[in-house]
């Protein structure tokens, strides 16, 4: 349906996961297996600067991803967050959570 494929690019210290433009209920079904695979491959950094549409389902998936990474001992690091992503997190009371995972924030 939408262009939501994982845009993981390989970098020396592991791949960076680019969050898709649309992070919603319509895309979570496709994103889920891709993110799982990415997390299994040792990914840790996520770039959210391209996100321009979110809903609670999309943010829930992001929360789940963070939990998985936490469990692997490699906490999620957010390389960038679009305004939409920041606002979406704030709307769900996740502003603090987002800030905490931002690169440079104390873990």
């Amino acid at each position: 349906m939408h262009d939501a494929g994982p845009q993981a690019s390989a970098t020396p210290e592991g791949s960076v996961l680019s969050l898709p433009a649309e992070l919603t209920i319509y895309t979570v079904g496709e994103l889920h297996p891709a993110w799982l695979a990415w997390a299994g491959a040792g990914g840790q950094r996520v770039d959210g600067s391209a996100v321009d549409q979110v809903d609670a389902a999309g943010l829930q998936l992001l929360l789940a991803l963070a939990r998985s990474l936490q469990a692997r001992g490699t906490p999620l690091r957010l390389a960038g967050a679009s305004r939409v992503l920041e606002e979406g997190c704030a709307a769900l009371g996740l502003a603090g959570w987002l800030a905490q995972h931002h690169e440079g924030a104390p873990a």
Binding site: I25, V28, W35, A56, A57, L65, R67, A91, L92
Partner: protein, 764 residues
């Protein structure tokens, strides 16, 4: 100036207003107490408002300005409660109960035509008004009545503090199907922001599983948030209406106490992190929460305080609407069980009541008593004429009289529930005063009883209830130590049982402490020191005059009005009181009362020249003794075998020293007293008889086994038996403390004949 006609109308109608207002206030109190179990029941809140509104309105009509002005403040607060702007906390409930007492006092004052102002009461009312305004969040200036400057706002206590904080607390856990149903919690929260401000919002991150375990289209989100809004509960809940079916939504009104949060946490056992989230969201401090949870835990151990609906919702996933519907039903059922409160009863019967003064009704019933006697007399005369038509016509009249009698007596019957429900308040206040936690259960409130009986049983019942609270039930600490739930149980029940009414007061307290009772009895000389009677006899000692085992004389019982007075009052109603107690497990006191005091269906028998009446309800059957009766003792007691069982039999002739010879073919009337049966040996069976009960004269009060007398159609006097007492005479072992001869002289007869009684029993 009002015209005189108005004045006289008001004077005439005032008593009716007073009595109606008292009823409304009684209903108000009951509703408040019911709401303590279901603080958000909309129907109850509406009924509560209507009660106060009615009182205020009619007080205004009658020019009772003090009542109207004070009630106005209560009404305003009730309105805000009804609108969901204020939540009914226990503190608020107590405040409203106190206000209700004040209104009642004011109404009572108006009823006595007492216009003098009591400055103390006035100051108290003023303080209450301030508290009401603080609790309702209305500024004194806006309330329309001058606020007294004397009472400081700080007097309002916790209610005032709560009123300053206008934030609702919303706890919502979305159902797993939320996304699939096309709902987006994010949009929903944004909609809520449209209603007001959300200063605090916490998402339960931990509720979201890790990626590996996640169904990405299932919703796992849950939020705790504070909402500052002018909107009412309906509007807030309305925001969730599309997801209501599968989300868990709890909306706490502004001013929720730590207890409320604790209850919220208890109600969501599948969310163990809720407490942390609440603390994180700033809804409550950790200390407050821990304290409340501990209290809740204690209470939960006894298994009652958690609202049923929340348990269902949290554990079984029942849709909230279903729970709400079930709860409504439940509360209505409880209302019915507690006896119809005024508004409920009015709705059900369409409000078709006629108020009749009790003494007018009594006059009719007295006349009816005479009519029954006259009818029986006429019937007797008709039979003597042997004219078939006359006998038949008379029979018709007697039947009609009987129907009128039944109908009229029915008019006097009222459900005992009204009396029962008074005890809710008593138990609530008394238990609090004693530091005990007691749940009161009322069973069989719709059992009907003669009105005069209901009135006269209220005091003894009150005493027994207080006694159970004071002596029977232990403090939570003592109970926990004894391995019992911290909350005590007190059950008040009523039911019909073989023509009488059985009222039972049952508690799960410590039971009768026989050692203490015995020690006291020795000390008081009620029992020979060192002698230990049977357990039941020790229990019975608490009914002995002037007996009290309280270690310290409390405010409640032990005021010298002992159980003996209770027993006497009950016996004065032709009732009996029995007690069963299991040490450590509780006591059960049973009161048996006749349905009515006035008229009974009797069974007339003759012994020699005397006539006796048994209440027909107590008669099981009549048998003819075959052959010689077994042993006879000095009291004329024998035994016969009835269908393989030994039946004790009392011979009235011997018991009361009646003259004459035993006929060749005597009959045994088998009677039932409670669960026991016994027989009475009589000469003649004279059949059913409508019996108007006349009390025995003072001289004959000491007669054992007699309940009253009646005048027969031919002018003869017949004595009416008190069947349970007679049963005791039949069964009591021939111990030395049993009076050798309960009735040495039969009235009018015994003195003349004792020497001629030809009974073998007398000689032995």
């Amino acid at each position: 100036m009002k015209p005189d006609a108005d004045q006289s109308f008001i004077a005439e109608a005032l008593p009716a207003f007073i009595s109606e207002a008292e009823e409304q206030l009684g209903a108000l109190e009951q509703l408040l107490l019911q709401l303590e179990d279901a603080p958000e029941d909309r129907e109850l809140l509406d009924a509560l408002f209507r009660c106060a509104h009615t009182v205020k309105g009619s007080a205004g009509i009658f020019g009772l300005d003090a009542v109207a002005a004070f009630t106005h403040h209560v009404e305003s607060l009730l309105d805000r409660l009804r609108e969901g702007q204020v939540r009914l906390t226990p503190a608020l409930s107590t405040l409203l109960l106190r206000c209700n007492d004040q209104i009642r006092a004011l109404v009572g004052q108006a009823g006595r035509g007492d216009t003098a102002d009591d400055p103390g009461a006035e100051a108290e009312r003023a303080a209450l008004v301030v508290q009401l305004q603080a609790a309702g969040g209305t500024a004194p200036a806006a309330a329309g009545a001058p606020a007294p400057p004397t009472a400081a706002p700080s007097a309002a206590g916790p209610a005032a503090a709560a009123a300053g904080d206008r934030a609702w607390h919303v706890s919502v856990a979305f159902g797993s199907e939320t996304f699939r149903n096309g709902m987006d919690p994010l949009a929903l929260l944004n909609y809520l922001r449209g209603l007001g401000q959300i200063p605090q919002l916490a998402c339960d991150i931990e509720a979201v599983p890790a990626l590996e375990a996640l169904d990405p289209e299932a919703c796992h989100l849950a939020f705790e948030l504070a909402l500052l809004t002018e909107a009412g509960r309906d509007e807030i809940e309305g925001a969730f209406s599309f997801v209501r079916e599968d989300c868990q939504l709890h909306v706490l009104a502004p001013g929720a106490t730590p207890d409320d949060y604790a209850r919220l946490i208890e109600s969501m056992p599948d969310n163990p992190r809720l407490g942390d989230i609440l603390v994180a969201s700033g809804a409550i401090t950790r200390g407050q929460l821990q304290h409340a949870l501990r209290a809740q835990g204690d209470a939960a151990a006894s298994g009652t305080p958690q609202p049923l609906g929340e348990i269902l919702q949290a554990t079984a996933g029942v849709a909230p609407q279903i729970v709400a519907a079930a709860l409504n039903k439940h509360s209505r059922g409880r209302e019915a069980a507690a006896g119809p409160t005024a508004p409920a009863a009015a709705e059900e019967t369409g409000g078709r009541f006629i108020r009749v003064q009790a003494d007018r009704l009594d006059a009719v019933i007295n006349l009816l008593g005479e009519l029954v006697i006259a009818g029986a007399g006429a019937n007797l005369l008709a039979r003597q004429t042997r004219q078939g038509a006359l006998i038949e016509a008379n029979g018709q009249i007697v039947r009609l009289i009987e129907e009128i009698r039944n109908g009229t007596l029915q008019l006097r019957m009222v459900p005992i529930g009204e009396t029962f429900s008074r005890f809710r308040r008593v138990v609530r206040d008394t238990a609090a005063e004693l530091g005990k936690d007691v749940a009161l259960e009322l069973v069989g409130g719709d059992t009907e009883l003669d009105k005069s009986m209901v009135e006269r049983i209220a005091d003894p019942l009150m005493h027994l209830v207080r006694n159970a609270l004071d002596h029977g039930l232990e403090t939570p600490a003592q109970r926990s130590e004894a391995g019992k739930p911290a909350q005590g149980r007190l059950v008040l029940s009523a039911c019909h049982e073989s023509g009488s009414v059985l009222i039972a007061i049952e508690d799960d307290g410590r039971g009768i402490q026989r050692d203490k009772v015995l020690a006291r009895a020795w000390e008081r000389g009620l029992v020979e020191p060192g002698v230990r009677p049977a357990d039941e006899d020790i229990d019975r000692l608490i009914f002995a005059p002037g007996f009290s085992t309280a270690e310290k004389v409390t405010n409640l019982s032990g005021r010298g009005v002992g159980m003996d007075v209770v027993k006497r009052n009950i016996e004065a109603l032709r009732g009996t009181v029995t007690l069963r107690s299991v040490p450590g497990a509780g006591s059960r006191i049973e009161i048996r009362l006749p349905l009515t005091l006035a008229i009974i269906d009797g069974f007339l028998v003759g012994v020699g020249g005397s006539r006796f009446i048994f209440p027909l309800d107590a008669v099981v059957e009549v048998i003819e003794p075959r052959g010689a009766l077994a042993t006879t003792d000095a009291h004329g007691r024998r035994t016969v075998e009835l269908r393989g069982q030994v039946l004790p039999v009392v011979a009235l002739r011997a018991l009361y020293g009646l003259g004459g010879d035993e006929p060749a073919r005597p009959s045994i009337v088998v009677l039932r007293a409670g669960t026991r049966r016994f027989g009475v040996l009589v000469d003649q069976l004279l059949g059913q008889h409508q019996t108007v009960i006349k009390p025995l004269g003072r001289m004959f009060r000491s007669l054992r086994g007699m309940a009253g007398s009646s005048i027969l159609g031919n002018g003869e006097v017949a004595l009416i038996f008190d069947v349970p007492a007679l049963g005791q005479l039949a069964e009591a072992p021939p111990a030395p403390h049993t009076p050798a001869h309960p009735v040495p002289h039969h009235p009018g007869r015994g003195a003349a004949v004792p020497a001629t009684v030809p009974h073998e029993g007398q000689a032995s």
